[in-house]
Amino acid sequence: MTPRISEPVRKKRVWIGFIVLFALINPWYFAADAGSTLIMGIPLWALIILAASLGLSIFITWTIQTQWRTDSDERYDSGKEGGAGKENGDEHGRGARRDGEA
């Protein structure tokens, strides 16, 4: 069973993914004259950087969807509608704060 709470910052695979992708979005691995290879008027190296950037966006999507899970939504009623007539924000956990300070 998957653990109930999961944070990206505690996942090794997330760190590895980010480090690898960060390395790939820095253009250190091209020859100095790589700009002479063009595809539809765009240097090939720039397209590779863009592809790596898209890879980062996709990895971020994967991380958000699978590695980030807390029970906030179950604990705090997330379906509430605009606060017409609400006296103060106390219903949603403000009580916990006040207890802590007392």
Binding site: G35, G41, P43, G83
Partner: protein, 500 residues
């Protein structure tokens, strides 16, 4: 970033007035829909923690992309060539950095009803000195940020209307509109207007790109021009360029993610699912915004060759002028583009002002000056102090001081110094509040001194040097003498994911 658009005098005024009326209407709508709102801090500053995916997404979008993205980035791409492609991944980096703290901060925000970033720092360290220092640094950085937006509004308006509306009138008009809708609807107004402003901006940049591709020739002709005149603009960056690329990724990624108004938006999400979906969309926006304006700048290289640095700053204005002369569609599209640019500046300014007021309301007035005040009084105090700050900033914007001008330049350099307390504090229970205080103070001082002296060792920005010192003091100070048992117990209680 003043851009003269001689073609759009009265039509510019028409669009700006229309835009002002629309924003006021949005404020009124938010006010009428949520009449009980002004009574509580949560409602006013966080939209009752009820922002849905679409609105939350656009409000993140509006805080990250400002008018400068459209006006300032193409000239930079024009001068640097493909090295400025870095503007695409650095916006993605912001979302990556969010993932290292937003999941936990959102959960804690819900659990403890956090309202501002300072609220979190106070909860975590229970130290008056750390909280007040963090509040002061944030207010100072935010005020300067606001000042910059005001100057940009004035220049944008006078540029768009070809000087028909003078700089001062433009600033006053938009500040009155902005304050009015913010007061009427708080965070809801700001977020709704952000949505409209974001859509206007997106429409404008896409039209600019399509027009440029159609009338000025595409990327192949730009590449041919660069090959003939400046082949280095096509090549990947060399040693120094690579360092610049790397430090921009780090600096923008960390910096923009921990801007106080960016952090506060995490608290206003309706649910974790909402926040996640907004982040996922944000991860792809750099291609549609930074990527698009980058292409516009590259096309400019062959369309308007051999501009000096000062001339190239006007690039977007020149392209818009040329497109507007083609036909009625592009004429109005370009008027809308510049309306969108000003909208984007206003939408950045309103977010900054709201966060500024919330720190006054909640963290200074509400915590130390009059804790017994009602929420209504706290909100009112934030509004009024915000108004006074705006008035002072307008005076500064009109009469820039001849000396010590740099005091008003420090923004990001100072704001980033709150990062270690905010992020390390989320995970490290041993973190010692005295080390945090010393690090924050020393980091801000170092960044300030380096900026005043124009000193940039190794070509790395002063803010980053301050951050390195700040982090060093936090980490070494804590390793030498960790937080006491009681403080650690409290930290564990606060940051642990135990909800019992």
């Amino acid at each position: 970033m003043e851009v003269e658009l001689a073609f759009s005098g009265w039509s510019g005024i028409f669009v700006l007035v229309l835009y002002g009326v629309l924003m006021l209407g949005v404020g009124l709508f938010a006010f009428l829909r949520n009449r009980g709102m002004r009574e509580s801090l949560d409602e006013y500053y966080l939209g009752g923690r009820g922002l849905g995916v679409m609105v939350l997404f656009f409000t993140f979008f509006a805080t990250q992309y400002s008018g400068n993205t459209v006006i300032g980035y193409p000239p930079t791409a024009y001068r640097m060539g493909y090295e400025y492609l870095v503007s695409v991944p650095f916006f993605i980096m912001i979302i990556m950095v969010y993932l290292f703290f937003a999941p936990r901060l959102y959960a804690l925000g819900r659990r403890f009803s956090l309202l501002t970033p300072v609220d979190w720092i106070e909860l975590r360290f229970r130290s008056k000195s750390v909280s007040i220092l963090a509040a002061i640094l944030m207010l100072y950085g935010l005020a300067n940020y606001l000042l910059e937006q005001f100057v940009a509004i004035g220049q944008g308006v006078s540029g768009l209307t070809g000087g028909t509306i003078p700089y001062q009138v433009g600033v006053i008009f938009f500040i009155i509109i902005m304050v009015a809708y913010s007061w009427l609807g708080g965070m809801r107004s700001v977020a709704y207007t952000d949505t409209i402003q974001g859509l206007a901006l997106l429409f404008g940049v896409f039209t600019l790109l399509i027009g440029s591709l159609y009338y000025f020739g595409g990327l192949p002709s730009a590449a041919a021009h660069m090959q003939a005149t400046a082949p280095e603009k096509l090549n990947p960056p060399d040693g120094a360029g690579l360092t610049r690329w790397f430090s921009l990724l780090v600096l923008v990624g960390i910096g923009a993610a921990i801007y106080p108004h960016a952090v506060q938006r995490i608290f206003s999400a309706k649910s974790e699912a909402t926040l996640k979906r907004s982040f996922i969309r944000m991860a792809y926006m750099p291609f549609l915004t930074a990527g698009v304006v980058f292409m516009v700048g590259i096309i400019g290289i062959s369309a308007f060759p051999d501009l000096s640095t000062a001339q190239s700053e006007q690039l977007v204005g020149m392209m818009a002028n040329a497109l507007a002369n083609q036909n009625a569609f592009f004429y109005w599209a370009m008027v809308l583009l510049f309306g969108g640019v000003i909208a984007a500046i206003v939408s950045t300014a309103d977010s900054v002002l709201l966060t500024f007021s919330s720190i006054i309301s909640n963290d200074l007035y509400g915590r130390y000056i009059r804790p017994e005040a009602s929420e209504y009084q706290k909100v009112l105090a934030g509004k009024l102090v915000g108004l006074v700050a705006v008035a002072i900033l307008i005076v500064i914007a009109w009469y820039p001081p001849a000396t010590l001008y740099q005091i008003f330049v420090l923004k990001f350099e100072v704001l980033i110094q709150v990062g270690p307390a905010m992020i390390l504090g989320l995970y490290w229970t041993r973190l010692n509040s005295r080390a945090v205080f010393a690090g924050m103070l020393a980091g801000a001082a170092l960044a300030g001194v380096f900026t005043f002296m124009g000193y940039r060792p190794l070509g790395v920005y002063s803010g980053l040097w301050g951050l390195v010192l700040n982090l060093g003091i936090c980490v070494i100070g804590t390793l030498l003498s960790g937080a006491g048992t009681a403080a650690r117990e409290h930290a564990r209680e606060v940051i642990g994911f135990r909800y019992s």
